[in-house]
Structures are given as structure tokens and as C-alpha cells.
């Protein structure tokens, strides 16, 4: 599905990360974790072909990044729609199906085009799947953050992707919504057989659903089950500093001494602007 080997990204003189080996298998639900600024979103952008690798190779669905097209679903980091945006949720979901096609939608296309009817059925199906039936007809600016996030997940699912890349989908949701959306993503991954790679900064809401986690540090990445990766030895080795992982009584993991974002922003001190 997704395969990085010896991959590195540099912006000018700044190395975001290097020596990263990552793989996501079909149907897997994988979280990409790491402290702020370590380049988790960059990893997603490389997979989408929006950022080039400076070393190593990346393969997405057996092709070069950016070539996967319809088999790849993407949910960028939290965007909220402007309150005044007078476009229905269902229209935003529909853009996931045909938004990249040139031309203009014709009125009453559903009456005579079987393809258009099939598309409409799929749109209604994904809206039902994410439980957005109640509010899909309302302007998207007027529904809550959690509801918008469900509609956006529906948008990413319309084309039946084989791989779903989610960038911080739980960010800025309240706790009940975090739990609900995490459960929804896990259900979709299982029922639709979609591989999910999800960037997160907190593993706890999704921990029970995950097949594997990938922890990114500057010098590389480690992947494995939650127990294999999120422990004091592995993380201390990855970040080359003393890190302690504690388990709270309710099972939640707390990483103490969470490393700051990579500290050698050499550019910042030499007076040159960052790229």
C-alpha cells in the first residue's frame, strides 16, 4: 500500500527527517505519531506527491507518489469551513467523487445518466456510513466541527479508495467526538477493507483500534505494535534523550519528557530565513 525506504526530506539545509522506513499493509489501521514539528504531515504530503523526497524511495499503491489517483483518499489537517459558506454538506461530499472532472454539472443529469445515478447512490451510501444523514442537506458552515469532519471523511471515501491518508482528523474535536470519529475510522477500515494511515499527536483515543504505530524521529522511524513502540527504551533510543512512558490506571499512555521539535534549526541562528 504505502512503502518508504531510506526516505529523507530536506528543505534547504534543514533535514525534516531522514532514514525513514515505513510500510502500511492492505487493510491495516496505522497511526503516524511523533512530537509537533517532526514532519508527520510532511510524510503524508510526500505520499501524495506534493513534496519530493531528497533521498530514498517512496511507493504508493505500487506507483510513484502522486500517480495513485482514484485509489487514494486524503483528509488534510483540520480545515473548518467558514460559517457563512452556503454550500450543503452533500455538495462537499460530491466533490470527492467528481470534483476534478472538467466541465460543469448539468441539471437533471440523474434522469438520463446511469453513471450519475450510481454516483448519487454511492454518495448517499457514504453519508449513511459516517452517520451524516441528518445534516448532509444543511450548509456545511452551520454544522459542528465533528459533523464537518464526518462529512469530510465521507468525501474521502466516495471513490472507494484502497488507502486513506488522514492528517490529524481528531485535532480540535472534543473528547466524545474524538472517540466517536476514531471508532468510525476503525469501522470503515474493517468493513470497507481500506488501509488507513493516520497522523495523530495523541495515541490514546485510537489506541484500541490500531494495528500498528509508526513513531517518527529526526533520525528515522520505528514501527510496530503499540506495546513494542511506545515504551521508555524504544522512544529514548529514537530521540536520543531520556523518555519515560507511563501507563495511567485507565490504560492511557503518557509520554513524559516528550522531545521538542528537532532542535537543530541551524538556519534560525545564522540569520538566513527559513525556507
Amino acid at each position: 500500500m504505502l512503502e518508504f525506504s531510506q526516505a529523507a526530506v530536506r528543505f534547504g539545509h534543514r533535514t525534516v527527517w531522514s532514514d525513514v522506513n515505513v510500510s502500511v499493509m492492505p487493510g491495516e489501521f496505522v497511526a503516524i505519531l511523533g512530537p509537533n514539528g517532526v514532519g508527520k504531515s510532511t510524510l503524508i504530503k510526500v505520499a501524495l506527491g506534493l513534496v519530493p523526497l531528497s533521498a530514498g524511495t517512496a511507493t504508493v499503491l505500487g506507483a510513484e507518489p502522486g500517480q495513485a489517483g482514484r485509489d487514494l483518499g486524503y483528509l488534510p489537517q483540520r480545515r473548518s469551513f467558514d460559517q457563512g459558506l452556503r454550500v450543503r454538506g452533500i455538495d462537499v461530499v460530491r466533490l470527492g467523487a467528481d470534483g476534478d472532472r472538467w466541465g460543469t454539472p448539468l441539471p437533471f443529469a440523474r434522469r438520463w445518466s446511469a453513471q450519475s445515478r450510481a454516483q448519487q447512490e454511492r454518495i448517499e451510501e457514504v453519508i449513511e456510513m459516517v452517520g451524516a444523514g441528518q445534516y448532509a442537506e444543511r450548509p456545511i458552515g452551520e454544522v459542528s466541527g465533528g459533523e464537518q469532519q464526518r462529512l469530510l471523511i465521507a468525501q474521502a471515501l466516495v471513490r472507494r479508495p484502497k488507502l486513506l491518508l488522514l492528517d490529524e482528523p481528531l485535532d480540535s474535536l472534543d473528547l466524545p467526538n474524538q472517540a466517536a470519529v476514531a471508532a468510525l475510522i476503525s469501522t470503515i477500515s474493517r468493513d470497507e477493507g481500506v488501509a488507513v494511515a493516520m497522523v495523530a499527536h495523541d495515541v490514546n483515543p485510537i489506541m484500541s483500534y490500531l494495528d500498528r504505530v509508526i513513531y517518527i524521529g529526526q533520525g528515522g522511524a520505528v514501527s510496530g505494535t503499540v506495546e513494542q513502540v511506545i515504551n521508555s527504551e524504544t522512544l529514548s533510543r529514537l530521540y536520543d534523550t531520556s523518555i519515560e512512558v507511563l501507563r495511567a490506571s485507565d490504560g492511557r499512555l503518557v509520554v513524559v519528557g516528550d522531545p521538542e521539535a528537532p532542535s537543530h534549526h541551524s538556519d534560525r541562528h545564522s540569520g538566513r530565513p527559513l525556507p
Binding site: Y74, P76, R88, L95, G99, D100, G103
Partner: protein, 306 residues
């Protein structure tokens, strides 16, 4: 000329609607005004719908203001004023499009747009004074006129208008995608940057067209008010698009008739009628929301009591 004056003296709004309509279309210049107004309204509606959705009203206004120095400069140089407006507006569109966007990505840099607009007004005034003599169309350039629209002008309007609408139809869906959701559109292979440049050039053409009727300074009224009203009335994209064009046509036609039967300028009528529609729609919308909210809270308290 004498015939025109005579007709203007004799005309007057009466209670006989058929007679009023006959009067309205009796004179060739008025027929041309309606032809031009109709083309302009359709183009303004279609482009305005996207402009409001993309929050580029300010850019639309600036591009319209640029048509003033375009026309004034053309008159000074002794070439076609219509050609001057199009050249100026399209060049300004390219300038605004090619200056890098602000980091937030939310539309073009308003400082750049403001600068373009100020420079446009300044050079317009310069061209007028360079021309020396009394430029009696100055009022028309700034605040609109429906008198003296020639057959050639109508032909130009229809060719440019048709070209704008054809390009818009070809890029409609991806442009909508890029407008609503630029990141995902980009990731799905939509050329977001290119589309925004193309859209600004189309907006330049549309602003130049509209300014032929409303004048440079009042393009805003026909470009933005119908779309803003329609999008408040319905959130279905297809319906609000059609409604925008219907509103733009209605506003233009009523304004033309009003300007014909009165002594006041067309720009004033387009703006006030457009604003009237917008105010009514906004008030009705907020009243509806309040009633819905009251209904919902009433329902909840009943549910609690049960």
C-alpha cells in the same frame, strides 16, 4: 438628435403598461441598452456567483475600477474606449494573479489589490487631464450610462461575454472544488493555482463588461449583490447559480426602465435595487432562522416536560 430630444420630452411613465413597454423599445439606443444590459447581467451573475463564493469581491471591485483609466487612456490616445477597458482590466487581473498569495492562502493579498485600485484611479485622473478638453463621458465612465451604446459595442460585449461563459463552463466543477476545498482539490490533481489565474482573467473581462453599464465604481452592485442574495436564499449550488442570474437580469431590466423614465443615472438604480433585494433577503433569512430556533427550543422543552 432632435428626434431623441423630442421623444424624451414626450415620454413619461403612464398607467398603460403596454404603452410604457412600447415607449421603452421605440428607440434604437434603448434597444441596444437592453441588449447590452442583458448580456452584462448574465456574465455578471455567473462570474459574481463564483466571486462571492471565493471571497474575491474586493478583487472584482479593483478590476472594475481599472476599467476607468483603461477607457480614459484609450480616449486620450484616440483609440476605442471599449478595447481600452478590456486591456486594462485583463492586465490588472494578471498583476493581481501573479503576485504570490498570502501565507494563509485566503484569496489574493488585499494590499496588492488596494494598490492596483489606487494606481488605477490616479492614472485615470491623469489621462483625463492629459486629454485636456472636457471629457464629457467622465461621469458615464465612473457611474454608468445607458445612452449611446453602439451596435459595435453590443457585438463586442456578446463575443467577450460568450467567451467568458464558455471558459467558465469548461472549468466550473474543478473551480468549485478549488474554491471550497483547495487542499483536497490539489491532492486530487486539480491545478488550483492555474485555475485561480484563469478565474481572475475572466473576472477582469467580466468587470470590464459590467462597467460599460454601471460605470467603473458601481460594478460591485451587479457583480456581488445578486450572488450574495441568491446564496442566502438557497444552499443548493445549482439553484443559487440560476437564481443569481435571474436576479441580475431583473435588477438590470428594472434599473434600465427606471433610468429611462426618470432623469436620474442608471448606476444609482442598479445599486439601490440590488441593495434592496439584498436587504430584504437578509432580513427574511434572519427572521426565518429566529423562528426555526424558537420552534426547535419549544420542541425541546415540550420533550423535557413529557
Amino acid at each position: 438628435m432632435i428626434a431623441v430630444v423630442a421623444a424624451t420630452v414626450h415620454n413619461g411613465l403612464g398607467w398603460n403598461l403596454a404603452d410604457d413597454m412600447r415607449q421603452l423599445f421605440e428607440l434604437h439606443f434603448m434597444v441596444n441598452a437592453f441588449r447590452a444590459g442583458t448580456i452584462v447581467a448574465v456574465v455578471a451573475g455567473a462570474m459574481g456567483w463564483f466571486t462571492v463564493l471565493r471571497r474575491q469581491s474586493f478583487a472584482g471591485h479593483a478590476l472594475a475600477v481599472v476599467s476607468f483609466p483603461g477607457a480614459a487612456g484609450a480616449v486620450w490616445l484616440g483609440v476605442s474606449a471599449t478595447a481600452g477597458t478590456f486591456v486594462a482590466s485583463i492586465s490588472a487581473a494578471l498583476v493581481i494573479a501573479l503576485v504570490p498569495r498570502s501565507a494563509s492562502g485566503g484569496g489574493e493579498d488585499s494590499a496588492v489589490i488596494g494598490t492596483v485600485q489606487a494606481l488605477a484611479l490616479a492614472s485615470g485622473v491623469l489621462f483625463v487631464s492629459l486629454y485636456g478638453g472636457f471629457l464629457n463621458s467622465l461621469n458615464g465612465l465612473l457611474f454608468g450610462t445607458f445612452l449611446g451604446i453602439t451596435d459595435d459595442q453590443v457585438t463586442t460585449l456578446i463575443i467577450v461575454g460568450a467567451a467568458v461563459l464558455l471558459v467558465l463552463a469548461a472549468i466550473g466543477r474543478p473551480l468549485f472544488f478549488a474554491t471550497i476545498d483547495a487542499d483536497v482539490a490539489q491532492a486530487s490533481g486539480v491545478p488550483v493555482r492555474l485555475l485561480s489565474v484563469v478565474f481572475l482573467v475572466l473576472l477582469g473581462c467580466a468587470a470590464a463588461e459590467v462597467s460599460q453599464i454601471t460605470g467603473s465604481l458601481l460594478v460591485f452592485a451587479l457583480l456581488v449583490l445578486p450572488a450574495a442574495s441568491a446564496q442566502r436564499l438557497t444552499s443548493r449550488p445549482g439553484s443559487s447559480f440560476v437564481l443569481t442570474i435571474v436576479l441580475a437580469l431583473a435588477i438590470t431590466w428594472v434599473a434600465l426602465a427606471a433610468a429611462y423614465f426618470s432623469v436620474y443615472p442608471i448606476g444609482f438604480f442598479v445599486t439601490t435595487i440590488g441593495l434592496g433585494v439584498f436587504v430584504v433577503v437578509t432580513v427574511a433569512q434572519s427572521a426565518k432562522v429566529r423562528i426555526q430556533r424558537r420552534g426547535r427550543s419549544g420542541f425541546t422543552s415540550q420533550g423535557m416536560a413529557a
